[in-house]
């Protein structure tokens, strides 16, 4: 057991640290710490910056334009990004469709799409969920019908994050109704400017527009936009299972950003007996979340070591997802608490007035955090998975 960095890793750490030292504008930081996404323009700017440095796709193999980094290097990269209040990269292209394309896509698809993901030129969104088919994708109803050299897609997608800014969407659609419910599902790549696509925002409790319904009405796409084989789309999604642990790991590593924000807010907040940060009850609560966050960091480290050793990490990706999502909820709730009565001032009603410093981002973060135990496999589903796969129950 040895967690020390090798000399070459230390050098890499310095390099990454230097990069981040002046890469993150101050005005991004509160948003990032709240666990909220930056505006699309800012996220694209960040992606371009990374791409310019050759770091646009940290988790991809070199042959597809990735960094080819070891898990150890990834851990260092994310640690430094987290410490610098850098945002997480937008994952739909990088972690979802990119890896499917380089694993199952045609050469033409690889050549065209992959560089555009890395450069930030293409913004992808995911057309998986539907009304009535959230965690249970087998209930999918969107149909794609072959018509000559095209497919014609009809259906209704839900929870399509950032469809309103995306250039392209990857869609699961039923190409056959025979066989078991998981069969006959195909994966297709759709340009968002194809006629027949209508996007309707889903307004959410955090008052931030990040997700949508997408209606597909006779959307005609070239058959060449099918990924892999027809009817195999369900299987391609499985390649992501392995990557999901990396997404979970990376996300969990950004938890300390929120905790720093809580500390700062509590350090600013005056209370009757002195600063909030000095009150033993508050310190105990903050310490509790910080300690649990340390535990999750240790779990991430072990997950990365598994990856480095090529070992099966079992359910540990799910465990990290379970824990960081709970902790991000606790941390943002504590942030709101640290704001005190002013947390009721979400938005100014008059011109010229402004809500207090961290608001509304802290509260928006706390509200947004509620969805982290729901998306990407709810906590209940994660526990089902762990019970079945790891415990054999």
């Amino acid at each position: 057991m040895n967690l020390d960095l090798a000399p070459e890793d230390r050098a890499f750490q310095q390099e990454v640290r230097a990069f981040f030292a002046d890469s993150i504008p101050e005005e991004w930081k509160t948003t990032v710490r709240a666990g909220l996404r930056l505006s699309p323009e800012n996220l694209v700017a960040y992606q371009r910056r990374l791409a310019d440095r050759g770091w646009g796709a940290p988790t991809w193999p070199k042959e597809y334009g990735g960094t080819g980094w070891t898990p150890q290097q990834l851990h260092i990269f994310w640690s430094e990004a987290s410490a610098a209040d850098a945002p997480a990269q937008f994952h739909q292209g990088l972690e979802l469709i990119g890896p499917i394309i380089f694993t199952y896509g045609s050469q033409a698809q690889k050549d065209f799409y992959l560089p555009r993901i890395i450069s930030g030129e293409d913004w992808w969104c995911q057309g998986y969920s539907e009304p009535g088919a959230g965690s249970d994708l087998a209930a999918l109803r969107t149909r794609a019908t072959r018509d000559g050299d095209d497919y014609v897609i009809n259906g209704h997608k839900m929870w399509t994050s950032y469809a309103h800014v995306a250039d392209r969407m990857f869609v699961l659609a039923r190409t056959s109704t025979e066989g078991r419910r998981q069969q006959g599902i195909s994966l297709m790549l759709v340009d968002m400017d194809t006629p027949g696509i209508r996007i309707s925002p889903i307004h959410t409790l955090d008052e931030k527009h990040h997700t949508n319904e997408v209606f597909l009405d006779d959307v005609r796409i070239p058959a060449a936009n099918l990924v892999g084989e027809e009817g195999m789309g369900w299987n391609y999604g499985k390649v992501l299972l392995d990557r999901e642990r990396m997404v979970a790991a990376a996300t969990a590593m950004f938890l300390p950003q929120t905790l720093r924000a809580v500390r700062e807010a509590a350090t600013r907040r005056r209370t009757t007996g002195g600063l909030l940060i000095d009150k033993p009850e508050f310190r105990a609560k903050l310490a509790q979340v910080e300690i649990e966050a340390l535990a999750v960091q240790a779990m991430v480290l072990r997950l990365m070591a598994d990856a480095a050793a090529g070992a099966d990490s079992g359910p540990r990706g799910s465990m990290v997802k379970l824990r960081w999502s709970e902790l991000t909820q606790q941390a943002t709730a504590l942030w709101v608490e640290a704001l005190g009565p002013k947390a009721q001032h979400f938005a100014a009603l008059d011109e010229g007035a402004a809500p207090p410093q961290d608001m509304p981002l802290a509260l928006q973060g706390a509200l947004y955090a509620r969805v982290t135990t729901i998306y990407g496999g709810s906590s209940e589903i994660q526990r089902n998975i762990i019970a079945r796969r790891a415990l054999g129950l």
Binding site: D136, T272, H345, F346, I374
Partner: protein
């Protein structure tokens, strides 16, 4: 020993229930919220006609002298239907602060009861929720007073016509002696009102006062007890609102888990979902029982402040937990504006903050039971 509402209380309850169903149906909610102050004004006039506004005002002040249990009957309905009208601030807290406060107060309270005037309490400064942690200073000038200072948060103060401002006539922040209470009209010279909305559709403000001419309410220097007693009444009313909201959130969740299918079965058939709904309903029962005991004891004059502090803590904990779980069990759709559960969550979070959050009242409970 009797937990049920009496006939009169039940009638009140039914009346609010009808109003809520008509005016604040879940389907119309976003429209109602978008109306802002205009919609509120319209509904406020209706409430005045129904006699609700004068219900909590003391008989000696020309009101109906309704007590905490009558107010509970009303506020449960506000909670169930998530009505954003600031009944507690204008009709419970302000009249309690002004009770027997002299002719000027009685005259104003008459207008409160008819809905012509709304008064908000400006008690909180940067240092938090303790009534004695204030620095705003009132200088006597003959029998007039001028107040200077800042109020960080005025609950439901955005559209108020008058403010009840606490300020020091003596002492320093933290001391209960020397806290006095003043009335200030919104139009007063030297008064700046900054208006904000919160995530639950309520409209608040902060105040800056520079040499604002102010009318004293009650005895000079001895207002801390009056304020605490009035806050106890406002808190118990909010507890009833929280209970109504929790029960509505549980009912919505029960409906949802009975009908929503996943993996070929209603999700309510999964044991884990069942136990979570059970825990939600246990939390409701805790909150309801505590609120009833607090309201009943407050009505008979025997409620210890420690009991009310305890109820404030526990109801907030239960309310937030219930609303969070309601969102969780609804899944993605639970986070949407369209469904009412996320509105319950936001209201529960804000109710926690109103008049002191869980930690404040837990520390207060510890102090009061020392």
């Amino acid at each position: 020993m009797q937990f049920a509402f009496n006939d009169e209380q039940q009638m009140l309850r039914d009346s609010v229930e009808r109003f809520g169903e008509e005016q604040w149906s879940a389907a119309d909610r976003l429209k109602r919220l978008a109306e802002g102050a205009e919609g509120t004004a319209r509904r406020w006039a209706q409430m005045a006609e129904l006699g609700w506004l004068m219900l909590p005002i003391a008989e000696s002040d020309g009101g109906l002298g309704g007590g905490p249990v009558e107010i509970m009957a009303i506020m449960e309905g506000f909670g169930r239907h998530l009505m954003t009208e600031a009944y507690v601030s204008h009709c419970v807290l302000a009249p309690a602060l002004m009770q027997d406060g002299g002719a000027h107060c009685t005259a104003l309270l008459e207008q409160v009861g008819t809905g012509q005037v709304r008064i908000a309490a400006a008690l909180i400064e940067d240092e938090g929720f303790d009534v004695a942690s204030i620095r705003a200073a009132a200088q006597a000038d003959g029998d007039r007073f001028n107040v200077t200072g800042g109020k960080a948060h005025v609950e439901d103060g955005a559209d108020a016509d008058w403010y009840l401002v606490s300020a020091r006539t003596a002492g320093v922040s933290g001391e209960r002696e020397g806290v006095s209470l003043f009335l200030v009209p919104r139009s007063a010279d030297g008064l700046t009102v900054r208006r904000f909305r919160s995530v639950d559709g309520h409209r608040h403000c902060s105040l800056d006062l520079v040499d604002v001419a102010a009318i004293p309410v009650g005895a000079i220097g001895g207002a801390a007890d009056r304020i605490d007693a009035a806050l106890d009444r406002a808190i118990v009313a909010h507890l009833a609102e929280a209970v109504g909201s929790m029960e509505a959130a549980v009912a919505a969740t029960l409906d949802y888990v009975r009908t929503r299918q996943q993996f070929g079965a209603p999700i309510g058939s999964f044991q884990v979902v069942q136990h979570k709904v059970v825990d939600m309903s246990v939390a409701c029962e805790e909150a309801r029982a505590l609120t009833m005991v607090a309201a009943s004891q407050l009505a008979s004059g025997g409620a210890a402040s420690s009991l009310i502090a305890a109820a404030k803590v526990r109801v907030a904990q239960c309310g937030i937990a219930v609303a969070q779980q309601a969102v969780q069990l609804h899944g993605g759709v639970g986070t949407s504006e369209e469904l009412v559960v996320s509105h319950h969550l936001r209201r529960q979070m804000m109710l926690d903050l109103a008049h002191g959050d869980r930690d404040h009242h837990k520390a207060r409970f510890a102090e009061l039971t020392r």
